[in-house]
Amino acid sequence: MTDVAAQPGNSNVASATPDTMAWDSRARRVMMIYLPLACFVLILLFPFYWMAITSFKPNAELLNYKQHNPFWISSPTLAHIKHLLFNTAYPTWLKTTMFVAIGSTFLSLFASTLAAYAIERLRFRGSPYVGLGIYLAYLVPPSILFIPLATVIVQFGLFDSPMALILVYPTFLVPFCTWLLIGYFKSIPYELEECALVDGATRLQILRRITLPLAVPGLISAGIFSFTLSWNEFIYALAFIQSGANKTVPVAILTELVTGDVYQWGALMAGSLLGSLPVALFYSLFVDYYVSSLTGAVKE
């Protein structure tokens, strides 16, 4: 499982699939491929549509399906978003989440690049086992760890601090990134490093000037994965953070915005929409890396 070949562009290798060879008619193709695909896309995207449309609906329309078509907005409003940005601590939560996500991403990239380099490039006795050990760490789910981790965080005096999250998130980011980067380092020819060694470069120079620059696509995809995963993380943030200002967006929306018996659906959905946008934007910028490294990473 550790010999991952994560090369961007793998997803484009698709060559002739059976259906292009088949002598199928257009109608058959529509029924067998386009129609089901359209259904999938509709169902997979509907919650986002619903989230978006709710965010811009005035309350009168929101709760009145008899007079207003629920699937459309007749008089869009920015009231929910305004309420979110000016009457709640939403901007603070966004900032905290961004800080935590960026911090843990850099920490994880630093740790896993070095680890992947040591495992893949500096080959020592037992390096495959170290690699396997790090990989297995990914299979330990946060749901088992959060209770003891909470006591560890308290012992370290980090309870209720975003630093706790930055330090804890690498436990699930490092295994994943290391795994991904080992695959990348593997794709870089050894000869390059050997030549540099012969020319008298030190190992650190080789890492900095040859291996790392060539592994940049791998670093980018590992970075995107780390960023999205830490933006999404919930259980640790829920268990370790108490004060409103230090909460991350997913936790804050659920614990601070959901109040009382009457839910403010407009504001809640606006919060969800705004909280999803950064990852969605980030993702769309690097979508090719993302999809190809995902398809690449799962290839044996």
Binding site: V130, S143, I144
Partner: protein
Amino acid sequence: MSVTTLPSRGMALRQPSWIARLFDYKPFLIVMCLTPAIGLLTVFLTYPLGLGVWLAFTDTTIGQRGIFIGLENFQYLLKDPLWWNAVFYSVFYTGIATIGKFALGFWLALLLNNHFPLKSLLRAIVLLPWIVPTVLSALAFWWIYDPQFSIISYLLVDVLHIRSTNIDFLGTPWPARFSLIAANIWRGIPFVAISLLAGLQTISPSLYEAAMLDGATAWQRFRYITLPMMMPILAIVMTFSIIFTFTDFQLVYAITRGGPVNSTHLLATLAFQRGIAGGELGEGAAIAVSMIPFLVFATLFSYFGLARRKWQQGEAND
């Protein structure tokens, strides 16, 4: 990677400092490179894992050191109907959601493996449910499942006239259980689909050509070529999926918090309720630890159950 010229000429001229030379000593470099990763994982993963097992055998509460009480926590859990309920729902949730995710995800992967315009755009769009934070999409589902203003109820009652009353999705145990499973399947499809798509692309088209010349039907091609070739990757993706579905937390916590009448508690949400919210760290840890046997069993089952085919046939692909 067609890099032929190396930027090494300049480096060789400079005399490396003693620090650089220290880093050239391989064992030292290896230790230095592994320290950050291994250190983080030891302090925040291995140690807490051990601590969690230890806590499960103590009566620790928040703010108070516990003493060793042996198997008392587990004996208590075995008599606790809520724990049994959580075990039942965790298994049920994992089982149904996994079947749904893999059936639909495989189908979607097969569809995406065809040639059509805007293919890569569609793949990108399809991944969205997996990218967006689970809690935030769970909130959207909560709103979709609203007892009064559910859009599904609106469609069924006012548009299609199939039902006369709104569905109480989250207010009664069984509908609530299935509502959560549906949301989990929705979230899981993209990952399964994209992973399996990667597997589909490694299958050589010549196999299909040969089968078509032999007159194999579409179903036969799927059954005798696609499925066997996909077994190894299915085994891995399913193992992952089972582990993370069984230990799911966010979706249930965001939508029902275990209710109504504790019918939708997963082991993870129950552990949170007892351990963090209730302050009974020892008992919460015991619930969390009680997930481990299920996880080990499910992992062995899915991995070896599916991967067996590969080594039985002795085919060394890749």
